[in-house]
């Protein structure tokens, strides 16, 4: 979709206004959004503050400065259950607890689809569920007008900030970062499987990608 302002660049940000039952959307490219003052949403402190206000303890306090700050706007998102940061996940390709999947759901959905070639499980389901209430946390939908689930709030927020749900149009840089994360995951998987040929392939791909994005 083209930017509503310059009509030349691909729109990567959608601003959504909801008035009663009416929803209005404005699609902007990164440059026009920045010139309109929306660039600050990309700042990690700004995002962390919004998320912090929405989800309480789920996000590290802005004053807790650390190396993650330099790694992008999402690195401060923290799982409320195990305190794994998104930055940790990017580094280790590893989650800390089952709740990380819902905490980082919006951020990792595309990567999982890329990694796995699919996005929805088919196959065996647990034969026994002793405590159905736990399970419902993962998949809750606010169909009856109750409180929206964490996942829905996150989706909504992401949609408002970046307008790219469910199939985001990514900037080249974002795309490269995502591929890097996928290759890192695949590399680690290959090493765990002791599949050294595959590991060498992903190591080379990562090196090329880093070179291209000028990180090395």
């Amino acid at each position: 979709m083209l930017c509503d302002k310059c009509h030349s660049r691909e729109a990567t940000i959608t601003l959504t206004t909801v008035m009663g039952e009416q929803t209005k959307e404005i699609h902007l490219c990164g440059e026009c959004a920045r010139s309109a003052g929306w660039g600050k949403v990309m700042q990690p402190e700004f995002l962390a503050r919004i998320l912090s206000a929405l989800f309480g303890g789920m996000v590290a306090e802005p004053e807790q400065e650390d190396e993650a700050t330099e790694e992008g706007p999402f690195s401060k998102i923290v799982c409320p259950t195990c305190h794994t940061r998104y930055y940790d996940f990017v580094q280790n390709s590893m989650f800390g607890c089952p709740d990380c999947y819902s905490t980082f759901s919006v951020l990792i959905g595309n990567n999982i689809r890329e990694l796995q070639g699919h996005e929805v499980h088919t196959g065996k389901k647990p034969k026994y569920v002793h405590d159905p209430s736990r399970k419902s946390v993962q998949t809750a939908k606010s169909a009856e007008g109750g409180e929206p689930s964490v996942e829905e709030i996150q989706k909504q927020l992401y949609r408002e900030l970046f307008g790219n749900d469910p199939d985001p149009a990514k900037s080249e840089e974002e795309g490269a970062q995502e591929s890097l994360e996928i290759y890192e995951s695949r590399l680690k998987e290959a090493l765990r499987e002791e599949d050294y040929e595959a590991a060498a392939k992903y190591r080379d791909l990562i090196r090329d990608l880093k070179k291209r994005s000028g990180k090395e």
Partner: protein
């Protein structure tokens, strides 16, 4: 009870074994990597305590060991047996391991996931391995709620395992196909099916013995049965190609092959020092010759077991931590001499 690798299986001339691994996590608990040592210890003990009915369910007795109480060499022997992977063998986390009396079933507690069970069946029989893993899965699920999500399936610490959390492996002996020019092309095409092929045994990063594993790379969006069928189907093509190359070779060079088989047997039977590569590669030649009828051995299934037991950490465990390479080579030759299957009387 007879070890699984001494039992004959389907398509054993090419297929050594079929293996299935399932990862499961207990709902409401942090994954092992984020548990403190105390929390992990406690969870490990809790799960161990709940496995009382395991023997009845699987009809096997189990021995339990704790990786953090083992030496590095002991842990690495489990990695050489493909019971744990090398990165787990190199860690000193409180991981518990239960292994059945026939070595076919192993359960890892607090590895990368809370539970990982692995079932191995001799020969081409992924379904047998799966049905035991499935049974174990239900047995444990009866005691614990699993971390499961309608969209992502069984939740695992690595997103590369999420979904069915099933990894299935077919271990193939492909001496002829792997030295054929088209092999690399075949291997690189596996990715199209979401599968991968890697060397099955080796040291450092070098694989040896012409043993390969076909396994699934992806775990989301396909059922367990679809995964097993895909691996079985692709493997059956590799099996057919390996057999056809063996047949062609036999027709052209039958006499030379027979000569090579006996010379190889002679070296293995009488050598005083054996390097890893020599031992494993010669055992590989002998395995093929035995299944192709070029040499008649008492129990050719034992050869795979010998290939594993020849690996460096198994040898170091026998030789002691201070043994040098030369001592290990001497010990390896001694081990091979003592354990090499006998020639069937009158067949020479």
């Amino acid at each position: 009870m007879e070890k699984w690798y001494r039992i004959e299986g389907k398509d054993q001339d090419v297929v050594v074994a079929s293996r299935v691994r399932l990862s499961r996590n207990i709902d409401g608990r942090k994954f092992p990597c984020t548990l403190s040592k105390e929390e992990a210890d406690q969870l490990g003990k809790e799960i161990e305590g709940s496995l009382a009915g395991l023997t009845t369910i699987t009809n096997h007795k189990y021995r339990t060991c704790h990786l953090d109480k083992m030496t590095d060499t002991e842990r690495m022997t489990w990695a050489e047996r493909s019971i744990i992977n090398k990165s787990l063998a190199n860690s000193e986390r409180p991981v518990s391991l239960l292994v059945s009396d026939d070595d076919s079933i192993s359960i890892i507690l607090n590895g990368y996931d809370h539970l990982r069970f692995q079932v191995t069946a001799p020969g081409n029989n992924l379904n047998a391995a799966w049905s035991m893993a499935d049974k174990l899965d239900d047995f444990l699920n009866e005691k614990y709620d699993y971390a499961f999500d309608e969209r992502y399936g069984y939740l695992t610490s690595f997103p590369t395992n999420v979904g069915t959390a099933l990894k299935a492996y077919m271990i193939l002996h492909l001496p002829y196909l792997s030295s054929h020019r088209k092999f690399q092309g075949l291997v690189s095409q596996m990715g199209r099916f979401g599968l991968s092929v890697k060397g099955a045994i080796g040291f450092e990063e070098e694989s040896c013995g012409s043993l390969f594993v076909v396994y699934n790379q992806t775990t989301l969006g396909q059922t367990e049965q679809e995964t097993l069928e895909k691996i079985t189907k692709i493997s059956s093509q590799l099996i057919a190609q390996e057999r056809s190359l063996r047949q062609q070779n036999h027709e052209l060079h039958g006499d030379e092959d027979r000569d090579r088989a006996y010379k190889t047997y002679g070296i293995l039977k009488y050598a005083r020092k054996l390097s890893l590569e020599t031992a494993v590669d010669y055992l590989s030649v002998l395995r093929t010759a035995a299944f192709e009828g070029e040499i008649a051995l008492e129990n050719p299934n034992r050869i795979y077991e010998m290939m594993i037991t020849c690996l460096p950490h198994h040898m170091r465990l026998r030789a002691g931590a201070d043994a040098d390479d030369s001592t290990i080579e001497t010990l390896r030759a001694e081990y091979v001499r003592k354990n090499l299957p006998e020639l069937i009387a009158g067949s020479e």
